[in-house]
Structure formats: structure tokens, C-alpha cells
Symmetry: C2
Subunit: 367 residues, 2 copies
């Protein structure tokens, strides 16, 4: 018997959103008839220029990536107005979150997270043998974070803003006020996976990566190409901090963890800002249709700063699981938040046509 | 100051083979004039059918991968005649090696490796706070492994066969004899990244993944698409073991770590066995040119079962670093093994045309 290390006993894997392949397999629905609004992907796909770059580079798949990821880091450095040595790339921002955990946490340490938040913080921390403390409210409550930071002395605090899967967002002022009051020995991760959506809706929610990591050397800012940039399948994210912080995280980084095609795609995607902006605009406009639907049907929801809306369906005589399962049979993939202990459904804002179909199906389901 | 965990002080990053981009940047050589034979990539690239599949799938880059990787696992299951639950995919076989380390090792544990071997075993073990013991000879010496296994009681033993960067390979009989003599509590990793090359040259070097993991539940067999299949840039590897072992390693696996295009590419690559076999044939034939060159120039080398040859150049009045640097200025990337404390050069066997140029340049350099 292999002596697996004791931490393994307490671990469980991440529950991913359902893929189209699963719906095709389980319900015999044609792939082109499946609407996937369960994983907060860009429903328009990535920019056509990015597809073209990848096709042109496909003959280079045999070559290992340039492990310095210089072109990608230069492009990100320009976008965020930092030097490239303040950037670490990762296999999705997931992986840079893992670097942060593994660089800091040893068994018995603590982390602090929001009650409802991205599941990977907890999973990575548990893999390090750390204890996970969380606040009690669904939206982020920084007073609760402050109290708990003093009480449990976490090595890492995770703030997800805009927040997944609830959709709330913190303002820059709130975050700075929080940072002013906690010890500079506490690593604060600002997971900004949905920042493009949040700052489009309200500039006060914009957290400037350079400024915050200049002012607070204990801040690690993370971002992704999986959401606004439409590259969820290509697994590219990044972290930004001061160069000393990044140098330390680099020690936990394996080589080549971003594919060469992913790096080419991300570098090109950063050039296609108009495409991204059009998508952000669609997101804002189409979000209003779901808000109206919720209001019309007395469904509670949280004002969302992301590319999804979370509907609390407890008053409707059906559980979120029943509703999601019924829509799944019709080829519509939404995210049941039961695993977050919420009787709620998270719906990615789709294209106008996708939203037509979802709203029609939801209407039938709830009325 | 962030309290980074103490293990970080002892870590250093992997030294990757030089990318073409670096030679272009540093020496102003056109990309098309650079010959990259430093990273044991397939010099012919991947099969054209794989390129086509990837181009056709490029519009799906926005969609997260099917995290079950069912199609890829089914294809691998067929190749290796095991059930899919005995397979774990990874971001290169690197990542499944990391899963093995993190599932077993805690600070103070030991691993045992060959003196000259793939650098990541040590890096991943050190990240877990483990101690690294190694044998003394350049090729694998299983008697030395056996003695040290008894002496240092490693939690994991790594056998790399065919071995990188030396090129030697163990026979199935030797490996089984070793496994018969050690405790079933010791995890034995068989890194078979170069297995396709080794078993082509000599069937006795073939280690059957199903049989070995059936007979020895403490064996974890790993393979990759980066070498024979020509997908080094796409980061796809896999591990095979009994289902209980794989279930445990899955607990350390982050979701989505293989991109969707990589999974499509690998699944298609497995269908293109004739393409791969032609490459293996070229490798064997072209290897002979380097062996003859070495013999003609009294250069020591190890009989290689991989897609590279390692030349020991100590008798030639120049260090491996001087020779590699000189060839680099001519646009030829080879791997200097100085970082392995060998005065040796590892050369990936290229296309006939690439080998013409390398042998011409080496001849000038050494005579």
C-alpha cells in the first residue's frame, strides 16, 4: 500500500460546470442545439483574429513554449503599466492562485475567504493542509473580513471582485480602506477574473493592478483570459505583484504550463480591445433582460458586476436543482449553486438569441 | 513582509532548453534559419491531420475543456488496454509527476533518483520539502537503486527509461526483478516519456503499462505527447496505475489543466500511428550518423534508446559550454549538460537536413 500523505483523506475535487459533450452523451441532443451558459464563458467566442493566429501557429505545436513567455508578458506589462518582472503567467488564473497558496501555506496555517466564492481557494489551501475560515454573508462584507482577519490571523485573505458566483463587487476605496487596516504580513489576493465586466459597469469598482501592488506590497492581483477575452479552453491567466513577491511565486511554478498556442492567442487577444468592448456592451444590455425577468417574477437576485446573474429561486416551489435539471434536458446548461449551499441558479449572460431561449424556458419552468 | 514558507529558500527553477525566440533576439538570426535540437521535440512536427483538427476546433477556444477528458482517456485506454479510470491526464507528464509527489511526500520524506535524470523529479520533491537521494552512475544501475532503497527508505523511486538526458534504457526483466525485491509500500514511478523510441530499437526495453501496473500496484507509469507525437508545445501527458492509485492522485489535480485544443490534438495524434512510426524509423537511421561521427572522432557516447544522443566531449580541449555557445551563434540550439555536472552535449536527432548542418558544424568545431 502506497503511504499517501494524510491530507489526501480530506480532499475532494472541484465540481466543474457541465460540458456540452456530457449533454450530448446523456440526453442525445445535437451539439449545435446545446446552449452552454454554466461556466461564464464568452458566448461569442474569442475574436476572429485570435482564431487566425492560432491556425497559423498550429504547425508549431511540436515546439515547447518560450518558457519566459516574453511576448505575452510584454503585452500584459503594457496593458497594466508594470514591468514584466511583476507578472507571472499560469495555466488559468487558477494556477497562479495555487502558486500563492503553495508559496505561503504550511499545514495548520489559515486562510480567509468569503462564504460564497470561487471554490479553488479552499481546494488549494486544503491541499497545503491549511485551515479555511469564511465570512457569513453572501456578498463580500469587508467589516466581517476585518474582524476575522484579527481573530484567525490568516496567512492569506482572498477577495474575489467582482465575485463569483454571487456577482457583487467591491469598490477600490473599500478595498484600500481594508488594506490600510490589516497587517502587511497578510497576503491579500485580489481575484479580478471578472474585472473587465465590473469596471465597465461602474468605474468605481475598478482596481488598478499597478497602483494597488505599488501601494500594498502584500497584494497579489490575478486576472484571466478565460472570461472577457473568450479563451476559457486555452487556460491562461496571470498574476501581478511587486517583483519580490512574483520572484517568490516563480519558485513554485513548473515550466511550460501555458501552451504555446495559448500564449500566442492571449497576446493577440490583448490587441482586439474593440471586440472585447463590444462583448462587454452586449453583456450590460442583455443583463437588463434577466433583471427585468427576475423583477417581473419576484425572483431575488444580486446586482451583478460580472458576466452572469445569480437568481435565488426559493419562493418558486422548485429547487434550483430541479430547474437546472429540467433545462438541461432541453439542452440548456446553467449552474446549479446547490454545491454552494444556495437555492440559486447562476446564468451566464449569453448572446441575444441564447437569452431568448433561456428566458422562454425559465418562464415556462417558473410559471 | 509576506511570510513565505521556509521551503522556498532552497528552491530553484527548472532550466529550460533555449527557445528559438531567444536565439532570434540575442543573435539576430532569422527564425527559419534556427535549428532547434535542444529539447527533444519531434523535428518533423506533429501529423498534418492533427494540425487540421486543431484549426477546425480553434473557434471553440472560448469553451472550457470537458474536464473528464473522456475522449482522450478512451483513446489512451484503447492504446494501453486499460480502463479509463486507470488514467490521469496532465499538463505534460511533468504535471502527473507533480501529482505523484504531492500525493505522497511530506517534509522530511525521501525520494530516490538516478544521478543523471530528468530535473523535475528533484524540483517537485523539494517543493514538498522532501530529501533527494541519488545513485552515482550515469546510466541507471538497479543494484545501486536496490541498496539505496534499503538504506534511505524513499517514499518514491523514479526510474526514467529510456533515460533523459543520458539515453540508456532498462529492460522489462530488469525492472520487474527490481520491483520484486522492494517493498510494495514504495511508489515506483516509471517515466516512459521516450518509450516509443526505446521499444522501437529493442522490444526488450518495452515496459507494458497494463501488465506492470496490474502486477505491481505500487507502480505509476507516465507517458507524454511531447516527444514521439510531436506535441511538446501543447502540454499533454498522462499517468497510468491501478484505479485506487489514480483516484488518489486525482485529489491533487486541478481542473482543466489540459487545454481543449491539446486534448483534441492528442486524441487525433493517437490515430496517426504511421506518421509516428515513420518518425521513429528516421530517428533510428539518423542516430547512426551521429554514432559514426562520434566513433570517427573518438567521442564517448552512451548507446541511446531515445530521440537524442549524448556526446561526452572532455577529450577535445573544449568544454561542452564552449561548443554549445559556438553552435548557438550559428543558429543551432543543442543542450549543454553542464547543469547536470557533465561535460557533455545532448543533441536531439533532427531531420536529415538538420543533421547535415549540425554534423558539419560539429566537425568544424572539434577538428
Amino acid at each position: 500500500m502506497i503511504p499517501f500523505q494524510p491530507i489526501l483523506d480530506s480532499l475532494k475535487s472541484y465540481e466543474a460546470g457541465k460540458p456540452i459533450e456530457l449533454v450530448v452523451r446523456e440526453f442525445g441532443i445535437k451539439p449545435e442545439d446545446v446552449i452552454k451558459l454554466g461556466s461564464n464563458e464568452n458566448p461569442f467566442g474569442c475574436a476572429p483574429e485570435v482564431v487566425e493566429i492560432v491556425c497559423n501557429a498550429a504547425t508549431k505545436m511540436s515546439l515547447y513554449p518560450d518558457d519566459s513567455y516574453l511576448d505575452l508578458k510584454n503585452a500584459l506589462a503594457q496593458k497594466f503599466e508594470v514591468t514584466p518582472d511583476r507578472i507571472i503567467p499560469g495555466n488559468g488564473s487558477d494556477q497562479v492562485l495555487d502558486f500563492a497558496c503553495r508559496s505561503v501555506l504550511t499545514p495548520g496555517d489559515s486562510i480567509l475567504i468569503n462564504r460564497i466564492t470561487f471554490a479553488m481557494y479552499k481546494i488549494y489551501a486544503l491541499q497545503c493542509g491549511a485551515n479555511v475560515h469564511s465570512t457569513e454573508s453572501v456578498p463580500h462584507d469587508l467589516n466581517a473580513f476585518l474582524d476575522l482577519t484579527k481573530a484567525v490571523k490568516p496567512k492569506i485573505v482572498f477577495l474575489c471582485t467582482p465575485s463569483n458566483p454571487a456577482g457583487d463587487a467591491l469598490s477600490k476605496n473599500e478595498v484600500y480602506e481594508f488594506l490600510n487596516q490589516i497587517s502587511p504580513d497578510t497576503l491579500v489576493v485580489i481575484d479580478a477574473a471578472y474585472m473587465e465586466f465590473g469596471s465597465k459597469k461602474d468605474p468605481k469598482k475598478f482596481i488598478p493592478a499597478k497602483e494597488i501592488t505599488d501601494l500594498y506590497p502584500n497584494v497579489f492581483y490575478t486576472g484571466t483570459f478565460s472570461k472577457a477575452y473568450g479563451l476559457g479552453g486555452m487556460r491562461i491567466g496571470y498574476g501581478i505583484g511587486n517583483s519580490e513577491l512574483i520572484g517568490n511565486l516563480y519558485k513554485m511554478r513548473p515550466p511550460f504550463s501555458v501552451t504555446n498556442l495559448s500564449a500566442f492567442a492571449a497576446t493577440e487577444a490583448l490587441k482586439q480591445q474593440k471586440y472585447v468592448n463590444d462583448y462587454l456592451e452586449n453583456n450590460l444590455q442583455q443583463m437588463k433582460r434577466y433583471e427585468k425577468f427576475a423583477a417581473d417574477n419576484s425572483i431575488e437576485f444580486i446586482d451583478s458586476y460580472a458576466n452572469f446573474i445569480t437568481l435565488f429561486v426559493r419562493k418558486h416551489g422548485k429547487t434550483s436543482s430541479e430547474i437546472c435539471q429540467s433545462l438541461l434536458r432541453q439542452g440548456i446548461i446553467l449552474r446549479d449553486l446547490k454545491s454552494y449551499e444556495l437555492n440559486a441558479i447562476r446564468i451566464t449572460i449569453g448572446t441575444p438569441q441564447q437569452n431568448d431561449r433561456v428566458l422562454f424556458a425559465l418562464n415556462k419552468e417558473l410559471n
